[in-house]
């Protein structure tokens, strides 16, 4: 496929890898923010092409993984109600809540449906006026234009039976939280290309200045990631800290302005809890003002709650880059993609699932 296959050329990948080896003289720790990049890195073995001096830490950029347990439990509660059609992206269905998951609710008779786009959920609301349609609005800035449009269209069409359970998160506040942590080992970031396709990369300049940390906006194919690493290492080796854009075929500095406009119109910025990380101020999107009526948590009268995570799951440390997935005692034994203890094992973009699928680490049984 054009704009994909040519970025997977093995010979050119080797050439980039050789150049990375040539310019690397000191140990460096980089974080790829996005789960899609983690998946590509582990799938194509990109980390194995890199010099031993370069460590890639897999960041918290998987919305499925960081959706807090409390909101998963709210989703389960809504989906189990009669007269509700609960619509969700497929990858949320096996995320474990406190006691069960959406797939089990569906097996017990709950009307849980997988949709490709939030607009499909709006269509369901039009087609089923006697039912309450609730869409599980999960994602980063990449997905926010789609969920914002679903809300906006539902409001235009005056669909009183449509609402959204929202767990939208934002990338720059998470980078800020990571950088201000005393345990932070990250010296540079590969920023998530598709988040920046929507938001642009203006937001990263203050972070680069404050923390003296290079940030390179990077794509998702092997050549993109290798070039992103090379650009980052070149900055680190020469003592520079700048914002650079490797993924210029899809990302403009200002991002997608019409999309940002609708996001701003429909959502407001709120504090948000990240599973495994904790609450990060100003790191989420929620519904406010004239769109507050579409908030499913309010419509169904679900109170804020606090739930304790399984003590066996160490996904919090994985999400913060403090341990690698196979360093968790439960990895591959008690915790597998079929029976996940935590969300990083559920989503194909979660670091644990990617390691389980592609990385032939000795598996403890």
């Amino acid at each position: 496929m054009k704009f994909l296959d040519e970025y997977r050329d093995g010979e050119l990948a080797q050439q980039l890898a050789r150049e990375i080896h040539r310019v690397t003289t000191k140990p460096w720790t980089l974080m790829e923010v996005c789960g899609g990049q983690t998946h590509a890195i582990v799938k194509f073995g990109i980390d194995e092409l890199l010099p031993e001096k370069i460590t890639l830490i897999h960041g918290p950029g998987c919305p499925v993984c960081v959706t807090p347990l409390e909101i998963i439990d709210q989703a389960l509660e809504i989906a189990a109600q009669p007269d509700v059609i609960f619509a969700s992206f497929g990858d949320m269905l096996r995320v474990p809540g406190s006691t069960t998951d959406l797939l089990s609710v569906k097996a017990r008779g709950g009307d849980v449906r997988i949709v490709y786009s939030p607009l499909d959920a709006v269509k369901l609301a039009e087609q089923n006026p006697a039912k309450e349609i609730v869409f599980f609005g999960v994602g980063f800035e990449t997905t926010a234009p789609a969920t914002a449009m679903a809300i906006y269209q539902a409001a235009q069409k005056k669909l009183a039976n449509f609402s959204m359970l929202i767990s939208h998160v934002l990338v720059p506040p998470a980078i800020e939280a990571l950088m201000s942590s005393p345990n932070c080992r990250v010296q540079a970031f590969l920023a998530a290309g598709h988040v920046c396709a929507v938001m642009g990369y203006e937001e990263y300049f203050p972070l680069v200045e404050k923390y003296r940390v290079p940030i390179v906006v990077t794509g998702f194919e092997p050549l993109d990631i290798l070039q992103g690493v090379l650009m980052t290492v070149r900055q680190l080796e020469s003592g520079r800290a700048e914002v650079e854009n490797q993924y210029s075929r899809a990302v403009r500095r200002e991002g997608n302005l019409p999309a940002q406009e609708l996001i701003k119109k429909v959502f407001r910025i709120v504090p948000r809890k990240w599973r495994g990380v904790g609450e990060i101020p100003q790191s989420g999107l929620g519904l406010g003002g004239e769109y507050a009526a579409f908030d499913a948590a309010k419509r169904f009268g679900l109170a804020d709650r606090r739930v304790e995570e399984s003590s066996e799951c160490r996904s919090g440390l994985v999400l913060q880059g403090q341990i690698k997935p196979h360093e968790c005692a439960a990895f591959g034994g008690k915790c597998t993609p079929e029976h996940p203890l935590g969300a990083t094992m559920v989503s194909s973009e979660g670091a644990c699932a990617a390691y389980y699928r592609y990385r032939r680490q000795p598996v403890k049984i």
Binding site: M1, K2, G36, S117, L119, G139, V198, R249
Partner: protein, 84 residues
């Protein structure tokens, strides 16, 4: 989750900018996507699509930059090899 893939716009329907839709070809698989956020896009353009929305047009000149970068790297490497 942030997976977005490039596809070619085959046809466009609707005049209203918020509800403009396109049929998009992803290497033989054709799907509908909203063009609400890419008012500049025309038939034949490549767009990056995520959950039913085109997020942006692929810039064909910029798409060559990775290969130009590699070529320059190669030429510089040869120069360095030749120098004593």
């Amino acid at each position: 989750m942030c997976l977005a893939i490039p596809g070619k716009v085959l046809s466009i329907s609707g005049d209203d900018s918020l509800t403009r839709m396109a049929r998009i070809d992803f290497a033989g698989v054709v799907k509908q996507a909203s063009l609400a956020y890419v008012p500049e896009v025309k038939i034949g353009d490549y767009v990056i699509v995520h959950v039913g929305f085109a997020l942006g047009k692929v810039d064909e000149d910029e798409a060559q930059k990775v290969f130009e970068y590699l070529k320059r790297m190669d030429e510089l490497g040869e120069l360095e090899e030749k120098s004593p």
